[in-house]
Amino acid sequence: MRSDRVQGAVWALGGGAIVYASWTMDRLERHGAALYTAPGLVPGLLGLVLLALGVLLALRPGAETQRSLVVTWGNTPLVLVLCLGYAIGLVGRLPFGLATFVFVTAFIAIFEYPSFRRMALAPVYGAVTSLAVGYLFESVFLVRLP
């Protein structure tokens, strides 16, 4: 359960942290920088706005009575694990074609369960995607693969 009040508090905290970081940022006075050219000026002002908007969100009338957001996660955690596993764990460590084949095959097989007929097609999709994306990027669009 999350409400505007909690969200507002999180944003206000974030805005406050930005303001603090900007205020304590080097003002480069030794380089002749004036206050209005200090590197922290713009992020500081933006942090201040975020802080104010966060407070407004948390305190605005009706914030508590508004419909709270009930988060239904569905397949999200599993999708996240698979996608992060591919992008962080496989790409760059395995040859691109193999990494893509493993990811696409595993993803389809997991989400098509318990339809064994569709699961059996997963390696085909994996192989076709791996070959097609490799060809498309390297040969047609002349882009390097990870």
């Binding site: 908007l53 957001l69 999708v79």
Partner: protein, 496 residues
Amino acid sequence: MFQGLALFGQSIAGFLTVESILWALGSSLVGVVIGALPGLTATMGVALMTTLTLKMPANQALLVLVCTYVGAIYGGSRSAILLNIPGTPASAASCLDGYALARQGKAGYAMGIATTGSVMGTLIGMFFLALFTPLLGNVALKFGAYEFFWLAAFGVVISGNLTGSDPLKGWMAGFLGLFLATVGQESVYAFERFTFGTRELAGGLSLVPALVGAFGFAELLMVMREKRPPVELSPVDSVVPKLNDLWKYRRTIVRSGCIGTFIGIIPGVGEDTAAWSSYAAAKRASAEKEKFGKGSVEGLMAAETGDNACVPGAMIPVLTLQIPGSAPAAVLMAAMLIHGVRPGPLIMVESPQFVYDVITMMLFALIGILIYGLALTRFLVQILRARYQVIVPIIFVLCTVGSFAIAARLFDVWVMLAFGIVGFALRLGNFPMAPLVLGLVLGELLEKSLRRGLVLSGGDVTPFFTRPISAFLCALIVLIVLSRFISWRPHANRAV
């Protein structure tokens, strides 16, 4: 005027090559397919295609991106009519009457009306693009640092105000985008801010991987979160539009085209607002108000004309002010910068040909959607049966490779992942994405203009409030914000 026509002729001649025509047709089709699939938006399509077209010549790459953009906005109507699910947010208004017509056994007729509306909307928008760009370009020449600062702030505020259901959250998303744009070395002293010692962050957050994450990865997470019932498609009758519909609804078409273009010009607002506004205006003016929502051809025509007219409209501020009129236009603008094309106030002085090149690209896209709307309906209907379990991993592979391709570094893949997760969390909290994107794109302009203005005035902030255009923009922002603060209730009359 004749000079404009000559430039337009030169642009058409320049693009009339087999290669360009094939790219235009192919990318329009990609756009239509992306737009037709619920959950995948035009912004995502343009962001993904940006990564694919990095090594292409600028004109060819932008042709691909414009065709994808136009195709995706049009493609959204397919699922709106056949499934009652908008393929893109821009097609939400088309669901009301499009699906009602399909339920009456007129799905093909509804798709014909959508095609007619889309083509006419794009044509009207193209006309205004050609007409207004030189005019607005002349006005933009009067803009200095003070005016650009307020314009950037205005873009974020108006985008937050009109996209999404809660303006306060829209503004928060917009200002977060502006803040994220300050990460990395600032422009005066090359001082590193918020990099936490990470060398890769010194150059700032890469825009395209961030956009691919916020719109690509985050959308995939949203798509997989929902359980979708098996697709039940309405039967399709003839999709050939009737010419007498064009005449019968001529006023609706012209009105919606004008509204759509005007909304496109407003920074960061976009196609969904254009569709809803055109729909509401058509309903107010209609003699058959009672039919709206129950299968009104006029309502469908208005929504489709409005959202498609918004596409060329959104390009007008991109070309003249470097301020995007919609989220996909923001990505398109980022792509222009990557390809070395610098839109802005000087465009009509330095490269007027480019403005007509963009109009020609729209014309090619229009031909593409006309062909697909008439000839490939049954194929496109089958696309709606595609299984997300298969599409999602393939698109994620493209998001990953595309993010890497920008600078051949894995760090950009991590940026994409981070923005995807943050974008997903923000969507869950009902924060709209369009202002965030606009903030990211406009952040540099806002900071540069503020600091330049302060340096010019020796730290005096008075010129920000006393120069006529600055004062006008500032007053407009204050009015928008105050109008929302007077009423605390978030407006909930629009679909997000």
